[in-house]
């Protein structure tokens, strides 16, 4: 790093003299300069668009054009409509259920990988196995459930041939069940990876100490491993919750367009050229998700425990 910085420093020193060199060498400035590319990128591609969305959310719209304005109409409609509350509630429901299931699955898988599989080769191999579904696109993984779960799909036909059921189960597809199934399938890995990562950092001598002190396997899990894995759990949870809260395509496909979440509300508005109303919904969603994340970060200090 220091070496690459050397060239511009030399050039500027020659041109501007020793004063400039001292200025650039001061640790404060170097820090600012090092941070500035990222800050610039974030400002340009994150902060600016968000500001734009907030600005547009106060505009008004006619059927095919949007008009700069400062009106609270979009928000008034949003908070005044029962659809908004139904849809937000539905989104929270998806997020909560998906979070709970991916957490249990993710923790179990990570625990198995980290503590039960002894050989490093196998650990790597099994971990890679977990990522195989991610070699194809998100949409493909989701859509492939549709023929499987359908009325005449593989799942129903197998169950019927086993004599478990007499008639096809209708709720397998185009239902909340299929939506959550797809979410779990899509996002469990986001839980596995950070939890696995923190588990691998746990000092094994702590486990030995726990055993020596007479703790049972379950006691070690609850009192030693779980607390030490918290940062991983929290990072995974943030991934899963934000992904589910912001999703629209999974809900659309897996519910057969019959259920709505906030993302679909926004996409419908955009499709009908109601950008200001879409922006207002997006701002409310963003606020909600930020509040959720800050609440989660209160529970665990990720930086301290990493």
């Amino acid at each position: 790093m220091a070496k690459s910085l050397g060239y511009p420093k030399d050039i500027s020193a020659k041109m501007k003299g020793a004063g400039m060199e001292r200025f650039l060498k001061s640790p404060n400035i170097t820090g600012w300069l090092l941070a500035s590319p990222l800050a610039l990128v974030l400002a340009l591609f994150l902060i600016l668009p968000i500001i734009l969305i907030v600005v547009v959310s106060f505009w008004s719209a006619t059927e095919f054009s949007i008009v700069p304005d400062f009106s609270f109409e979009n928000y008034a409609f949003l908070f005044g409509s029962s659809v908004t509350y139904t849809v937000f509630l539905n989104t929270f429901k998806y997020a909560a259920i998906t979070w709970a299931i991916t957490l249990i699955l993710g923790f179990t898988i990570a625990y198995f990988l980290a503590f039960h599989v002894r050989s490093q080769t196998w650990q790597t191999a099994l971990f890679l196995l977990c990522t195989i579904p991610f070699w194809t696109s998100n949409i493909i993984r989701m859509i492939s459930w549709i023929p499987f779960l359908g009325r005449n799909g593989l799942a129903n036909e197998t169950l019927i041939s086993w004599g478990v059921i007499d008639a096809p189960l209708e709720w397998l597809l185009f239902s909340d069940f299929s939506v959550i199934l797809a979410f779990v399938h899509l996002y469990t890995l986001f839980m596995v990876v950070p939890i696995f990562n923190t588990m691998m950092r746990i000092d094994r001598s702590l486990l030995e100490a726990a055993t020596d002190a007479g703790a049972s396997g379950f006691q070690t899990l609850v009192n030693v491993i779980l607390p030490l894995t918290k940062p991983g759990i929290m990072i995974g949870s943030i991934f899963v919750v934000t992904l589910v809260m912001g999703d629209f395509i999974t809900v659309r496909f897996m519910s057969g367009s019959q259920s709505a979440n906030v993302g679909r509300l926004i996409s419908n508005d955009i499709a009908l050229l109601q950008y200001p109303s879409a922006a207002a919904t997006a701002v409310v969603l963003l606020g909600t998700v930020l509040m959720m994340i800050s609440a989660m970060l209160r529970l665990v200090d990720i930086r301290k425990e990493l």
């Binding site: 419908n268 009908l272 050229l273």
Partner: protein, 421 residues
Amino acid sequence: MSKMRYTRRSMLKTGAAAVAVSALPAPMIWAQDIKDITLRQFGTGVSNLNDVATKVKEDLGFTLEMTALDSDAVTQRAATQPDSFDIADIEYWICKKVWPTGNLQAMDTSKIANYDKIVGIFRNGKLTPESVIAQGTAPHTVGFTSGPGGTDFVAEESGWMTLIPTIYNADTLGIRPDLIGRPIETWAELLNPEFKGKASILDISSIGIMDMAMVCEAMGEIAYADKGNMTTDEIDKTMAIFIEAKKAGQFRAFWKTFDESVNLMASGEVVIQSMWSPAITAVKSQGIPCVYQPLKEGYRSWGGGIGLSKGLSGMALDAAYEYINWYLSGWVGGYLMRQGYYSAVPETSKEFMSADEWGYWFEGKAAAGDILSPTGDKLAGAGDLRDGGAFADRMGRVACWNAVMDENQYMVRKWNEFIAA
């Protein structure tokens, strides 16, 4: 390059336009320059066919770039990004929304060689002199504007067209006769509890609401003054009926894209649903029985046309007119008619179809031999009849045109309620 263009433009100015265009020899004047022209066309999947682009290159020499989008995205792009396209292939109800933005330019009908042969539906609204004009956004009501710069619509044939009609059809419900096992005759069957969990409707609000209205009217629940322009009260009543049905589990799913509708029907998830003609063809070509069921209340019809971006000028504009004239000259019409759509100038398409194809698709006669799609799939065998019969029987029984309502925003909000219910 500019020299060539001036030659042609001055020719047009001197009034030789009609002669030059109708004789169609124009390519020889600017054959060199035209190769460099690229026209960007976007539209819904129905007529954005790569085969058309290939044939354009072959017949006219210039390049046509096609982008296929869904109806919502098409509207959005036509209304907000006029610089992103040269030719918009849109539906008439979209035109009603987009035209007032001024993003499209009026077309001079004197430059359209086959203008006089365009079906009456697109000119005075009447298929035959006795026809009654259906409810909704009938194409001729948004087909003409007052002049070159007009952003209004005029009732008469003013000589300035907003869209050149290209393709249209009459839509109805698609059914799986093998899974239903009895005749279906009315739109009301969509909400028949017999098909609980096996019905579907399309999730494109502006079209879905029409299908809903056809159903409610057929059930005798609501009498509409104009299904294409409902009052808020009518919208409320319609939605109430469908929300109740949705909560009772009548619908298996809703669909938004062509392939979704095909999959729902082909997999047997759904046995009755709103559907588009080529989707029926797609299901049939998998060897699965599927009927585009004519219903006693009539059809919900739609029409599409191509409009020119306001940014088109000079030689590109001339090329666009060239393209339009070529479009109406028969090859595309024949291609589309063999897919089950109708061409705006059927008589020119006839020359590009076999007598058997013409008889089957247009005249409603029994097929003498195999009827193939333009891509070579077998769609019907000897003795088969087209669902709904002849052109006049189908287009003559239109109950309502796809439309955009005055209360559109209210309707859309209600639609969101329906989806979230």
